[in-house]
Structure formats: C-alpha cells, structure tokens
Symmetry: C2
Subunit: 290 residues, 2 copies
C-alpha cells in the first residue's frame, strides 16, 4: 500500500502544472495543498476497484489525479474562515493561512477545474475509450456536486446551528465524504470494465466503506491526538456537532464500524484475490490511528 | 437575439436542479445567481459558432448551460468579501449578501461541478458523439482553469497592490474574460463539426471579441450609469486598477475596440450568412450601454 501511495504522489506531481508555469503563485498554491500528505484513500479505492475487475491499475492515473485534486480543493474551501475556520491540515498551515483567503478560494476553484481537464485527458494519457471517459466524468461530477459532496457540506454547515438527528447525520456523511468515495470506486470499476452486477457490488462496498470511515473519523476526533491526526481534535464537540460516539456511545459506534467492514468484505465475496487491495483498505479503515 | 436569450433562460431553468430538490437552500441559491439576468453573451457565442458551421443550434444546449453556470459561479466567487467585495450584481444583491459567505462559496463550487455534469450529459441529451463531448469538456476545463479564467483572476488580484503595465492588463483580460469566450466559441464550433481551418477562424474571432468586450467594459465602468449596468461603476478607478481608458485615453480605446470588431468580421469572411449571429454579436459588443 505504501508503494501505491508513492505512486499516487508521482501521478499528482506529473498532473499538476509546475510552479514555473504562470501564474506561478496559483500553481505553487495548488501544489502546496495537493502534494506531500494525506492517506490517498480515494486514489487507492479507485485503483483497488479497477484491480478488482482485473483492469490495469495504471489506466486509473487520470481518475486518481482528478479525485485527489477534488478532495484537496474541498479541504481548502472547508478550512476557510467563513466555513470551518481551521488553521492546521495534514500537519501544515492551511492554504488560506499561507496564501490568504482570495488565493485559497481560487486555488480550490482551479483544482476542481483541473480535475475535469485531467479526466478529459484519459483517452490520450490512459488509453480509455471516449464513452467510458464520459461515464467516469459523469460519476465524478455527480459525486462532487450539489447532490453529492457539496450537498453534504452545505447541510453540515446549516446543521451546526440546530439540533441534529440521526437522519441528518447520515445524510451529511453519505454526501460529504461518502459520495466521493463512491465516485472513486465506481469510476475505477468502470475503467476496469465492470458489468452492471459488478458495479452494484462495488457500490455496496462503497456505501459501507464510507460509513465505516466516517464513524471511525468521529471516534478519532474524540479520542485521537492532534499530532497524530495532523489537525485539531475535539473540534466536533466544540462546535456542538452531532457525531456517532455522541449519538450511540463509543462502544456501539465501534461495533457499527466493524459491521460496515464486514459488509464491505461480503460485497466482494464473488471477486477473486484481485480484490485484495479493496479488502485490505476496508480492514485498514477502522484500525487506523490517523 | 432576444428570442435566443429567452431560450438560454429556459435551457438553464431545465438544467439546474429544482428548488424542491435537497439540499433546497443550495439549489435555491444556485438558481438565484444563474437565472433571470445577464446578457448571456457566452451562450450566444456558443450558439453562434455552432450555427456558423451549419450545425443545429439546439445541440449546444448542454454547452450553453455549462458555460453560463461557470460564468455565474465565477461572479459569485469574484463578489466575495475576500475578493472584490461587491454587494450588487445584475441589479440584485450578490449571492453572499443574500445567503452568507459559506453558502456563496459552496454555491459557486456546485455550479462549477454541475457544469461538467451537464457537459457529460451531452451524448444523451444533445446527441453529441462521445469523442466530441470529451473535446468540448477539455476546451471548457482549459478555458475556466488555472491557465484560463481563474489564472486571469489571480493575476488581477495580485496586481491590485502594484503598478500594472500593458502586458499584465492584456494577460488579465485574455484570461479572466477572454478564455471563457474562447471556450464557448470553440466548443460551439466543435459541436457544429468544424475542421481545423474553421476552428482557427473561430479562434481568431474569439480573441478579438474578447479584447473588444473588455475595452468596452473598461469604458463603461468609466462613463456608464450604475442603474444601467446593474453594478457599481468607477470601481476600477477607486481600486487603482489599470484600464484601457486610463492607459490610452477614451478615444484611442474606442478606436482599439472598433479595430477588434473589424478583425472579428474579417475572421468570418469565408463563412456564409450562417455566421450572421456572430457578426451581430461582434457589432453589438461595442455599441452596448450595459
């Protein structure tokens, strides 16, 4: 897995415009917030889904770059003073602390746009046919958009001022983080040549993976160390946010996450050992300490 | 032309998620800033380029929606307090004045993403083949991205604190506004089935149109009425921004704009009367009072 994370870093380094390309401050800022950090979970999921279908993992490089750029843009905008107002991310000062708010907004905009430019390069760079390319672009746009990731973020913000129920909590998680996991997985599966049944299995994996991830994230926010996480902890509590531990208690939350991981494994039962990366990722997600 | 503007409005109304779709506040905000206003120049350029090639104008509806969504998103983010800090746009309070900064940032993000979702729907909704769809997506992403529109905006912001020269002014205009005009025109031409030579002619039109537009915009900022323009005037001067009238004087600027429009007409010399919409738009651009 470590090897793959290095590969993702190299893909991003190659895909992002260089710091020498004008406007240099924008490209420097895009690289600052995208390179050199992160677990690269979304990239690994895209690769894992493609591999599970027996596809060539190298063919996912465009999708991998796009998904990680979108994730990076979402963090930059989430961290803005008018949003979560965070100073620390992946152990480094957040983008707007380094470059100022205006550049941070534009850096996010540029990363989101560049993600689609990179997806449109898949036919020439990755040998993907045009129809599959359009399908993958549709998946990513849906996952990242108003009824996906951005939709989750807006409900999250709107809910901070009021009492949240379990349904809202689930909506936020399914959309804010789950939708991009899902796009990464389904995009990777499409590149791997999935049929409808296989795509359904990967989608079931995606939904359970997303929930396990989020429950664990909530648990880590409550129990983890800032140093390990590279970001502030107990911020959810400070903001009065509803979390799984607060709703169900720590033990029941851990049990829920475990059940989701079991579901992940069950959804892959008809796959060969080509799906082992996805199996590993599902088990990793609840064992991690950051 | 009025009829086409109404058609653009209908296309956007249909393409944008309804206000009843969750999250409702986000979709309401997206519609607030996209519908009911604007000259729809970019949409008309896309339609005009497609028509100039003898293509079916209705086939541009996906591109038209995408380009106008991207234009709307760029205005929302430009108007933010950390950017130009404007309260008025198209005669209405700007998005962040109505919905707050956090929602405004996310509304822009959602519109940009939805634009690419809409482009990816072109094969099914507009009957465009997959290869052309990918080419159009590449054009739009390039025009809107870090070496296009966002690149122009960042140089604009960076230059507000220092003395600007003509080269910088030209860079800003070519990128901040010119790049999206170009993408609209080239995208429309590709949908119309342009060959390389025709695409080059449309590109030459695009570059001259962009410059004529921007020079006229600068002139209007100096001489126009806020009521007519639907936004504050003499803001450039107040911000110490370099403009064409300040650099060359009012008369010479008007002369420059006229020469650009002549170039627009010259670039269309080998086209039939199918290019009349593009011809009309070029003449309109320097005669407008808003």
């Amino acid at each position: 897995m470590k090897q793959l994370v290095l590969q993702v870093e190299a893909i991003l380094d190659q895909a992002l415009p260089s710091e020498q390309t004008a406007p240099t401050v924008l490209h420097e800022s895009m690289r600052y917030s995208t390179l050199g950090g992160g677990k690269r979970l979304r990239a690994l999921l895209a690769m894992g889904a493609c591999a599970a279908l027996g596809g060539d993992v190298n063919a996912t490089s465009g999708l991998v770059a796009a998904i990680e750029m979108i994730h990076a843009y979402s963090l930059i905008h989430d961290d803005l003073p008018c949003m979560d107002d965070d100073d620390l991310r992946r152990g480094k000062p957040t983008n707007h602390i380094v470059y100022g708010e205006a550049v941070a907004v534009l850096t996010g905009d540029a990363l989101l746009t560049e993600a689609f430019a990179e997806l449109a390069r898949m036919p020439e760079k990755c040998g993907i046919d045009y129809q599959t390319t359009v399908q993958v672009i549709a998946e990513v746009a849906q996952g990242a958009g108003s009824q996906g990731m951005v939709g989750g973020q807006i409900v999250d913000i709107a809910s901070q001022e009021q009492q949240m129920d379990e349904e809202t909590l689930r909506y936020i998680h399914q959309h804010k983080t789950g939708a991009l996991f899902r796009a990464a997985l389904r995009g990777g599966a499409l590149i791997g040549g999935a049929n409808a049944e296989q795509l359904a299995a990967i989608t079931r994996y995606a939904e359970n993976f997303g929930l396990a991830f989020q429950i664990t994230d909530d648990i880590l926010d409550e129990t983890g160390e800032a140093e390990q996480l590279g970001k502030a902890v107990q911020t959810d509590q400070a903001r009065g946010k509803l979390t799984y531990p607060r709703l169900f208690g720590l033990e029941e939350s851990q049990e829920m996450a475990r059940r989701c991981v079991e579901e992940c494994h069950a959804s892959l039962s008809s796959f060969t050992d080509q799906a082992d990366l996805l199996r590993e990722l599902a088990s990793f997600i609840i064992q991690r300490d950051h």
